[in-house]
Amino acid sequence: LISCFIMPSYKVTYFNVPGRAEPIRIALHAAGIEFEDERVANWKDVKEQTFSQAMPLLYIDGKPYSQSSALARFAGKKAGLYPTDEVQALVCDEVFETVQDIANTIFKVSGDPEAVKAHRTEISNGKLKVLFGVVNTRLSESSSGYITGGDVSIADIFLAGQVGAMLAGWLDHIPPSYLTENFPALAEHASKVNALEVVTKWQEFHKAKSA
């Protein structure tokens, strides 16, 4: 009896930025899973025809799945980037969702430049301190240098992506010094994680494909 296992086809659909899709892309690539890396430029035109009217989306054999945290966890499991230990997994999930909250908090106000400035100034002294504080605490408790206390995971990758963008000055009104002064350990963690092969391998692959 010969059985033939056919790999499913995978497609990741998102904007042409790292953002909330990058952990998914990095993990699928690390898992050796080939996927179509779809970058949408005309989201407003196509939004209403999509499954959840939100991105990222992961298509497995043409079937859509939504919710970036769910997708990252799925891909992370495939790549060995998600802990099997239940408490480490709890910490991974906790930090991943906290990074989601950080992004949601920052981008809650958009458009009017004065409103954005006021909002970001307020949260820098308030909610962001609390949220980064949670992540910083988890990192400080870890004896491995990675968030869960075990190996590198999607939590490290997602966090480092967000922190890296902030350190590169991507956010108006929240300068790199915000992190280097208040949470230097997170800045160090991001530099370390963003230099790991699991991250750079994907970036180089993507760069070569887009060239």
Binding site: S69, A89, E94, V130
Partner: protein, 208 residues
């Protein structure tokens, strides 16, 4: 041998974002202090994450409702080991959260909020999110959201629907889910009758 950790779950008195974890911890046979906070405004600035629920394991706090629920569900055998099924479970929880937060995203006087919520139910985020859940339950060959066994996803959706049916949300008729998404209402009712859920309810009643 290992000594069982102590567990405490801290949340408001309501079901909300903690009920799924309470149900699952209980189903797992885990004894936990079920702390209900009534003075949150006072306590908030002193807390680890400025949010609830919090699960304390040997006094170490962990935040994020879906993370806590997933941990508890694994302990209870209510989280799938199949990756695709787990993906649907995770997706379902996030979809419910997006659905409910959309109803809380409106500001203004009550009439304005009612109008905006009605639009949201009719054609907005809430409708889109419920369509996602409806697709999942329709596709499932097992009658449970994940396509496999009864899981955390069914519990989470049950609680979300319960909240929407509670009448606590002006602009959200108590019969809206039943009238618009009968399969999901049926799922919620079926989930209610499951041992894990029924056991938690009777345990709570026995404490009163």
């Amino acid at each position: 041998h290992s000594i069982m950790p102590t567990y405490k779950l801290t949340y408001f008195p309501s079901t909300g974002r903690a009920e799924a974890a309470r149900i699952c911890l209980n189903a797992a046979g885990i004894s936990f202090e079920d702390e209900r906070v009534t003075n949150w405004n006072e306590r908030k600035p002193t807390t680890f994450s400025g949010s609830m629920p919090v699960l304390f394991i040997d006094d170490k706090p962990h935040c994020q409702s879906t993370a806590i629920a997933r941990y508890a569900a694994k302990k209870a055998g209510l989280y799938p080991s199949n990756d695709e099924q787990a993906l649907i479970v995770d997706e379902s929880m996030e979809v419910c959260q997006d659905a409910l937060s959309s109803l809380f995203s409106f500001s203004g006087d009550e009439d304005t909020v009612i109008k905006l919520r009605s639009e949201c139910l009719e054609s907005g985020k809430l409708r889109v999110m419920f369509d996602v859940l409806n697709t999942r339950i329709t596709e499932s060959t097992s009658g449970w959201l994940s396509g496999g066994n009864f899981s955390l996803a069914d519990i989470w959706v049950m609680n979300s629907i319960g909240f929407m049916e509670s009448g606590a949300l002006p602009g959200v008729p108590t019969t809206w889910v039943r009238d618009n998404y009968p399969k999901l209402k049926e799922l919620a009712d079926k989930a209610s009758a499951q041992e894990a859920v029924a056991n938690w309810k009777s345990f709570q009643q026995s404490k009163q």
